[in-house]
Amino acid sequence: MTDATVNADATAFAGTGEAIIKVENMDKFFGDFQALKNINMNVGHKEVVVVIGPSGSGKSTLIRCINRLEQHDAGRIVVDGIELSDDIRNIQEIRKETGMVFQSFNLFPHLSIIDNITLAPRQVRRMPKAEAEELAMELLTRVKIPEQAQKFPGQLSGGQQQRVAIARALAMRPKVILFDEPTSALDPEMIKEVLDTMKDLANEGMTMICVTHEMGFAREVADRVVFMADGEVVEVGTPDHFFDNPQEARTRLFLSQIL
């Protein structure tokens, strides 16, 4: 390893029972570039982990590896007891158990809001239409936009779209939700509504991994904060420890730049 820092270990987790996500010695390459270096991380049930770090540090790649949007090159990833291997069945199983919310919403523009939400339950979980729609309405109520059900994504504001995306992820009744910078593409006045939705989720006991730049959210909601730089986990800690008493020079530098 060229870097002086020893890769921090994020295996100790808060929450209850067995770790739901286990990442062991994971490497990821893009061609010759090593995007992730020997990542070790566990996430417990009902735990909220916030991943922060400068851009290009590999945060997004990390969570995209967990549901195989990117393929890891070495090490192991186990989600809810299922190992993420080349086995197409395992991949599908893991994707069923993990929801994902994207920076750019990625709602399906050709489908109405309700169809966006019911699509995966009906196609993947083979849920009857009526039941799926009932579920969708319930979720839309939960994210506080039930009146938009018949509209199309293009007719909604960014904040509303992202809340629909959260509802869409929830509709598969996942065990974990991965958030990939969910507020970065939003106008400032819409960030709050999305963060509030996420806080509600966390309070209800959803297991979440959030890649975000929202330090306030991290401090308030996170059980653990993971700081990444140059493809490595640099420091791990509770929000209080992390923001008030960071140990690593790189963490302090990063915090001084953004706070």
Binding site: A74, S85, D86
Partner: protein
């Protein structure tokens, strides 16, 4: 038998590949899924199956082809027939039925090429004119241009070609009663002829001189540009360069004792003398295809100019550029980048559409090949050659286009 070989190859490929991968990756292989669920194996497997199907289909067709050609006593790999007499005569060439097939084909390529080099510039010129006319603030002009585009775009080019040809055929007089405009032009329903340059003494020297003049004009261009860059004085490089070129041309013409003269066409005893002549089908075909292609190019020109964001013109205004400057430096460079790829596409279409001249009997490559089929020449080889020629034309044009397009591309777009 073939099937068996194929399966062995497939199996070896599949498992060899897996083995290679397991050896080369650092990954723990103890936890392998069964192959029918392994995404990597599946990826290879699908390809193997696809190759297999293509291979089986291909070999079935190929077997049939070989058997059938054997039955009729044809060797599809025998290209010796190219040296046999073609049995067809081609107008306005020194080829007769006894000339070899290869020269007939070569003549076809030459004729196709002649239609392209004349037709494409004409289409661009005319199309641009129509396209700009559609944007004119003159209501009548823009409506006429619109009508033109809507008319010609929605008719098959083949129909335009045959129609033009039939109009030329019935509209122009027979050869004996040719229309002559002054001594300069001759029109009849077989050929058109016009004036040209005929070389005299010292013509070779004059040609070299003019080449040197061109180089000098380029130098003047660069010098004037540099001067403009250094001092800011208007460069007027077009004027300067053109002046240099024409000046040398005139001086040279006098100094070398009239190295060329204008030659006017004449028909003596049904033989054309002097000038340049072309066959009526050539003129009709190029004319018709130009009309058709121009209607498409007009839309490209118009669309590309309109595609330049209004804010660009406003920015130009805000910088106090004049109307001409705004167009020359802001709008047109951007419009041209938009127009270029579809223009290349139109050039390709023009090239392919020249094959329609077969319907009016102009001896380009496709009609030569059809004539050869009529002489029971082997179709597979001839078609292979003809398709190869068109592919070459397409490839050369699109390669040039891509090269230019790559250089035009704006960074960050």
């Amino acid at each position: 038998m073939r099937l068996a070989i194929y399966f062995v190859v497939a199996a070896v490929a599949l498992f060899g590949w897996r083995f290679l991968r397991d050896v080369t990756t650092k990954r723990d292989t103890s936890n392998r899924p069964p192959p029918w669920r392994d995404v990597r194996v599946l990826a290879v497997g699908i390809q193997v199956v696809a190759v297999g199907i293509l291979f089986l289909l291909g070999s079935w067709l190929w077997d049939n082809f070989n058997t059938r050609t054997d039955d009729i006593g044809l060797d599809p790999f025998d290209f010796a027939f190219l040296d046999q007499p073609s049995g067809i005569s081609i107008a306005d060439s020194d080829l007769n039925p006894n000339s070899p097939i290869s020269s007939a084909l070569r003549n076809g390529v030459k004729n196709t090429f002649l239609t392209i080099v004349v037709g494409i510039p004409l289409s661009v010129l005319f199309g641009t004119l129509i396209g700009i006319s559609r944007l004119s603030e003159n209501w009548l002009l823009s409506k006429i241009a619109t009508g033109y585009v809507e008319f010609f775009r929605n008719i098959p080019p083949l129909l335009i070609i045959v129609f033009t040809w039939s109009v030329f055929l019935t509209g122009f007089p027979p050869e004996r009663e040719s229309w002559e405009i002054g001594d300069l032009f001759i029109f009849n329903n077989k050929r058109f002829a016009g004036p040209s340059i005929a070389s005299q003494e010292n013509f070779v020297a004059y040609r070299w001189l003019m080449l040197a003049a061109l180089a000098l004009a380029a130098v003047v261009w660069v010098v004037r540009t540099r001067l403009f860059d250094r001092t800011g004085t208007p460069h007027r490089r077009v004027l300067w360069s053109l002046g240099t070129f024409v000046g040398i041309g005139v001086i040279g013409y006098v100094a070398l004792g009239q190295p060329f003269r204008f030659s006017t066409p004449d028909i003596v005893e049904r033989v054309y003398e002097g000038g340049v002549k072309m066959q009526m089908p050539y003129a009709a075909g190029v004319f018709a295809l130009t009309l058709y292609t121009a209607s498409h190019i007009a839309e490209i020109v118009r669309g590309s100019i309109l595609s330049v964001d209004r804010g660009q013109v406003e920015a130009g205004n805000a910088l106090a550029l004049s109307g001409f400057q705004r167009y020359r430096f802001v709008v047109l460079p951007q419009a041209f980048r938009v127009a270029f790829p579809p223009l290349i596409n139109q050039f390709l279409n023009f090239t392919k559409n020249t094959s329609l001249f077969v319907a009016i009997g102009f001896a380009e490559i496709t009609s030569i090949s059809i004539n050869l089929f009529g002489q029971s020449r082997p179709a597979p080889q001839i078609l292979f050659i003809v398709m190869g020629i068109y592919l070459t034309f397409s490839l050369v044009l699109s390669t040039i286009g891509n090269l230019i397009n790559g250089r035009l591309a704006i960074a960050g777009r």
